[in-house]
Symmetry: C2
Subunit: 462 residues, 2 copies
Amino acid sequence: MENIKSYVQQHKDRFINELIELLKIPSVSADTAYSQDVIDTAEAVKVSLSKAGCDFVEICDTPGYPIIYGEKTIDPNLPTVLVYGHYDVQPPDPMELWTSPPFEPVIKTTDIHPEGAIFARGACDDKGQMYMHVKALEYMVQSNTLPCNVKFMIEGEEEVGSASLAWFVERNQEKLKNDVILISDTGMISNQQPSITTGLRGLSYVEVEVTGPNRDLHSGLYGGAVANPINILAKMIASLHDEDNHITIPGFYDKVQELSAEERAEMAKAPFSLEKYKNALNIADVYGEKGYVTNERNSIRPTLDVNGIWGGYQGEGAKTVIASKAFAKISMRLVPNQDWHEITELFTKHFTNIAPAGVTVKVTPHHGGQGYVTPIDSIGYQAANKAYTETFGVPAIPVRSGGSIPIVSLFEKELKSKTILMGFGLDSDAIHSPNEHFGIFNYLKGIETIPLFYKYFVELSK
Amino acid sequence: MENIKSYVQQHKDRFINELIELLKIPSVSADTAYSQDVIDTAEAVKVSLSKAGCDFVEICDTPGYPIIYGEKTIDPNLPTVLVYGHYDVQPPDPMELWTSPPFEPVIKTTDIHPEGAIFARGACDDKGQMYMHVKALEYMVQSNTLPCNVKFMIEGEEEVGSASLAWFVERNQEKLKNDVILISDTGMISNQQPSITTGLRGLSYVEVEVTGPNRDLHSGLYGGAVANPINILAKMIASLHDEDNHITIPGFYDKVQELSAEERAEMAKAPFSLEKYKNALNIADVYGEKGYVTNERNSIRPTLDVNGIWGGYQGEGAKTVIASKAFAKISMRLVPNQDWHEITELFTKHFTNIAPAGVTVKVTPHHGGQGYVTPIDSIGYQAANKAYTETFGVPAIPVRSGGSIPIVSLFEKELKSKTILMGFGLDSDAIHSPNEHFGIFNYLKGIETIPLFYKYFVELSK
């Protein structure tokens, strides 16, 4: 029976083409204009799981987009791995910055990916990384090496808060029973240095609306005499950070888990070049909370960023108007022990309080999730580390990520099991940005590494 | 020979229908998508001037949109009135707030306009007010009561800075020679209380672009570690006003003409109800520069307002992105003695200086104009006041307007003559806003009043 390396070599063109077909469907969950595409993608994922060897696959209806559930049970007495992933993607805009259409996948080489990378929205986040697990299952079934039971749960609302997933998990705890949850929706340090994400930030995402006069006004006749909602919104947003870039919302930091000097010293060992970082982004300097370095600011510290702002005249030329309303989308990344519901309340209360009398403010929570930290002494972590060590030749480094996978803490609460984040993406893959891509090397390496996780997880569980 | 009152009564339906036809053409000068409509409007204005009785009318090409010039000379030894107006209009957006389509004029009654008002973009600003002069000429020619020579100069770029008009005036000083310039592009206090605008604010309009990282970034992986262009833009905009709402740009107030206590006391006599003002706008309170009241803030004081802002994700739902760029359109209203070129330079210098190292800033001047004050002891002002007094039954009150007609100071410089601003609009006409309208009463009253200006101007000139 051929081993995984040769199986991947033999089938890699098909593996790549199958992923490309999946990437062609624009499954943008944030925009209802794409809703049929999202549903078509769910169907495609279902078919792929059946072909890969699941005994049972179903499309489960939810209040939102469907969840695909699949399973293969070889022996009830053996452990069960639950694989989670998502088939929805971020909106592609700004379209004009894509060098090739976001839903017409093409393979191009880059300095980091000399073997080529697939350029398309969702290539890495998360269709590519999710599909590695489908192909890993195919191999284990074909080679009869699947050492335990496996369940798949692939959702379509991860990019908009996973509301339906929470609904689904709460109602299917028995069906989803497992010994470990395996997710590939994160990154690693480099193609030479694998890493395992042990911490995630939480998230609170809100939309704010500032209303001034009941209609747009002529800025000459009213300018200077009434509160201009755009100026006021700018002033309110600016006031959310102080001169040291600390967030000014009362109580915001009360529950923040501060790391010890030892832990921070440990983090500082991860390879990082500030010059390369600045050059990659073409910025003269970094910017952030006083008292912390870049790798701390984007992982162990909470943040507040405006993700979108709009109001007034945005067309060609000039319009001398005072807009009646101004809007912004604001997200806060949270760290362990901050509760996203509580932070959302603190934000809403504060933002409403700081509005001057001349305007009214509306805050609409979009979604959120809790932060998460996984222990590195768990069987799951050890199994993942052995798998990486075998395929990459070096052990994985544990890292705290600044990103959020809101449902990870939900899984622990509802399913009472730990999640292992085996990411194969790179920071340079431009997820959530134009020209998102996923290295062929990374895709195939993931397919190669995953079966080893199953192998070692079962061995260590004995 | 019938008099003006009965002539207007006899022809008012035609006067209204002719204006409605003109309002149907969407002559939005700020948006090139409408360029053919702007040119069609120029042609329609030319035809209307010929029909009204001009001896000579021509469409004059310019680097931008054409200027319509028309004249009727009855005796070179008599005075000449130069009528200025504009046939271009503001962009109609936000479209969704219009109760009827902006370019499908309809007549509706309002509390202020029981006889009805024409609702359409440009109804008041300035097609309606400009067309009053065309119909007034028609009457004077038909009734053989035109007491002097008249010239018309109607442009198509007033809403975008009148760049071509300046070019045209500088090259046609002899052709445009006149004794007084008459413009109806302002408002009056109410339909019971006419007023004449004696002061206008200047304008500097700029667009700013703040660029951070070279691409949109995932707010989880980069949030808190790099300068977010939207947060930075908000912070920079907020810093342009201090806690007393004084503008913080160094040198901004250096040349501002301060009014004496007497002048401010005189201004305070104009009828004004703060409660009605707040209720009309549905705001809990006014907002502006400390030490000045509403009617001063919007007329004799310079201001800075953001007219538009945009950046990042503005679509449905949520996108956790840090945008590469953020933009704003900012206008400053200027008062006499402030030079708009100088203020634009001061803004550009200051705004660039306050940008942190993590971003780059680009400031693009759009257009501007100087402020203006007209003396109330001039023949032109006296003639206008007598005309209003005769048709309204009460004398006009001189008021300083917060608006800008950038070319008025240009006229004085190039043509060496004073401008009289005989406005017939009302603040409630919602110019530059959705549901702009112009009262039938105001439109017909204007046609009635204008010939009296000619009569008294010639009498007082003897």
